[in-house]
């Protein structure tokens, strides 16, 4: 190494090019800057190259700025549009907010008109939370199986299958629900089979990939040392999973559950197909009901823009939007807590 650093012997430069190349370029440049420059070690950058580089920088910056601006403008205009339409129910048409949020009678075309949205709000909450309750344990167990018990099988077979589940169109889920789950419920429970329970089951399968993927990622991203530390203390595999891995991933898992609920909350088509769409608060899970999304998709075509019947649907959409914000906020809080 010493010999190659010696700049005083110009003859040696050509004689041993390989050993030169092996030495790091930095000490060479320091030792003989004059000879290093033409060979391209660390020459001063040509101005033309610098210019094109800063041009690329400028282009990249502007381009990303435009993309961000488009996104922000789109999001804010959607929010503004939904809010202005939704709020006009209360400010223009004079429907009372209290009646809208807590009224149980939904009769937009009735005499007198009545706009109680509580049945839809409860319907949405009950189906999505029930769906999460069914889905979360399945998803957690699937994640544990895929990461801890059979990682090879999990990665090769189960992960693609679960990703496939996420790609199935919602109308297919609804159709399967209608032909399999609804008749099943009809056979063993009183009623038509259509209702909150059928909706929740269909939704639970739809949100399974969301929760499973997030839980799996969280578990496979854990530092390897965590598991080893537990094993090295003589903990069994189950003890390691339940006491050292699960506590570490619970915040991420909750994030997955909340995102799953958010997805279930916003899902329209599949739910609408199996829930029965009766605008009242059901007394049982197997009685026909409605959700915010199902009533919007069903009624939107039958109303005229600007009328109170149309505006009130926008109010329902506003409730959905606000709930989405709430879910996002919950996820944020959970993530912040998991970083601590």
């Amino acid at each position: 190494m010493k010999a190659t650093l010696d700049p005083a012997r110009p003859g040696s430069e050509g004689a041993e090019p390989t050993s030169r190349a092996e030495a790091s370029s930095e000490p060479r440049a320091e030792a003989s800057p004059a000879s290093a420059a033409p060979s391209g070690g660390t020459p001063p950058r040509p101005t033309a190259r610098r210019k094109s580089r800063s041009g690329g920088e400028w282009f990249g910056k502007t381009y990303t700025l435009i993309c961000v601006a488009v996104l922000i403008v789109t999001i804010f205009s959607i929010v503004y549009f939904v809010a202005s339409k939704g709020l006009s129910t209360f400010f223009v048409n004079g429907v009372s907010l209290k009646e809208f949020l807590f009224g149980t009678k939904w009769a937009p075309d009735g005499e007198p008109q009545s706009f109680g949205a509580l049945p839809f709000i409860t319907g949405s909450f009950v189906t999505s939370i029930l769906a999460a309750c069914i889905s979360a344990p399945l998803a957690f167990c699937a994640a544990i199986f895929m990461t801890e018990l059979m990682p090879k099988f999990g990665k090769r077979v189960m992960q693609p299958v679960i990703e496939l589940l996420a790609g199935i169109p919602s109308v297919v889920y609804g159709f399967v629900g209608l032909t399999v789950i609804v008749p099943f419920f009809r056979a063993i429970f009183p009623g038509q089979g259509l209702g909150l329970a059928a909706g929740a089951v269909v939704l639970s399968i739809m949100i399974l990939p969301t929760i499973t993927t997030i839980a799996t990622d969280a578990m496979s991203n854990l530092p390897r040392g965590l598991k080893e530390g537990s094993y090295a203390l003589g903990a069994t595999r189950w003890q390691t999973i339940s006491r050292s891995i699960l506590p570490a991933v619970i915040p991420s898992m909750l994030t997955g559950v909340v995102l799953g609920i958010a997805r279930a909350f916003g899902e329209a088509l599949a739910v609408q197909m199996v829930i029965g769409n009766a605008p009242h608060i059901p007394s049982s899970l197997f009685e026909s009901a409605s959700t915010l999304t199902s009533v919007i998709t069903l009624s939107m075509g039958n109303t005229i823009m600007g009328q109170v019947q149309n505006n009130v649907l926008w109010s329902l959409a506003l409730v959905l939007l606000v709930m989405t914000f709430v879910f996002v906020a919950i996820v944020r809080v959970l993530e912040r807590r998991s970083l601590r």
Partner: protein, 268 residues
């Protein structure tokens, strides 16, 4: 180095010093087809510190990990040969690795506290081995934290997350955690390489103290550390055990030229 710990006297009477606590016999370790450790014979005495040195990838960490069967958790890793612990071959297929790992504790390069409170980190092991009594657990936690000189720093915040501790404190917590199940042997895989000099010297002091009671095997890249803390040193190169002797012999008058070259920094 003061030999003052009261339990060391008990240890000395029941465990004759010098007799091997743990011994590897013709131990080979494979990752798939690749032989990472080649037919190594090496024994570790009670009450002593053995340093494993050698360039990166020489198999010393793999060897260390095989001693408490941690390599079992790596897909494709397999070990041939015997590891003797109390006249029992712990590399045999029927070995109860769970209770084995209780007897052979381990500390890693990167501190790996559980995502729990300081208290729970230390109480984790004993809980699994049947200690349910709160007072008993408290005692174990306190004594382990005292052993690792962490008690005074943490006694007022035992319920805080262990992740809030500094790197050096986390590493001492991991050592306390390893001690909590009362192992006989302590394996340390570069326990101080991720720490600052002050924390490093604390860990080294700790090792010198702990060796009164435990058989310690430590992998290190720091020659000075090996010379300071160990009684015996084993030099690994390319999966082979090149030389194993008293530390001062290895560092002053090694038999093999490779050892001399490595220690004086001429390769690796």
């Amino acid at each position: 180095m003061a030999i003052a710990a009261p339990s060391s006297a008990i240890g000395a009477s029941t465990r004759p010093g010098g007799s091997a606590a743990l011994a590897a016999e013709q131990l080979s370790i494979f990752y798939g087809e690749k032989e990472a450790v080649k037919k190594v014979d090496l024994s570790f005495a009670r009450g002593s510190v053995t340093a494993l040195i050698g360039p990166s990838g020489c198999g010393k960490s793999t060897f260390l990990r095989s001693l408490n069967r941690m390599n079992d958790t790596i897909a494709g890793a397999s070990a041939k040969g015997s590891i003797w612990l109390d006249g029992e071959d712990i590399n045999a297929p029927g070995t109860d690795v769970v209770s084995l790992r209780q007897r052979i504790g381990m500390v890693w390069q990167k501190p790996n506290p559980f995502y729990k409170s300081i208290y729970e980190n230390v109480a984790f092991g004993p809980r699994y081995h049947g200690v349910r009594n709160k007072r008993e657990l408290d005692e174990i936690v306190e004594s382990c934290l005292r052993r690792t000189a962490l008690w005074d720093e943490t006694k007022d915040r035992l319920n805080q997350s262990a992740l809030a501790l500094s790197g050096g404190q986390q590493q001492r917590l991991c050592i306390a955690r390893a001690l909590s199940v009362q192992p006989e042997i302590l394996l340390m895989d570069e326990p101080a390489s991720a720490l600052d000099p002050v924390s490093t010297s604390k860990i080294e002091e700790l090792i010198s103290e702990l060796k009164q009671e435990y058989c310690i095997v430590i992998v290190t890249h720091n020659m000075g550390q090996a010379a300071r803390v160990s009684d015996k040193t084993a030099f690994f190169y390319m999966g082979n055990l090149i030389e194993h002797n008293e530390t001062n012999v290895i560092f002053t008058n090694p038999e093999k030229k490779q050892t001399d070259d490595y220690i004086s920094g001429r390769f690796g």
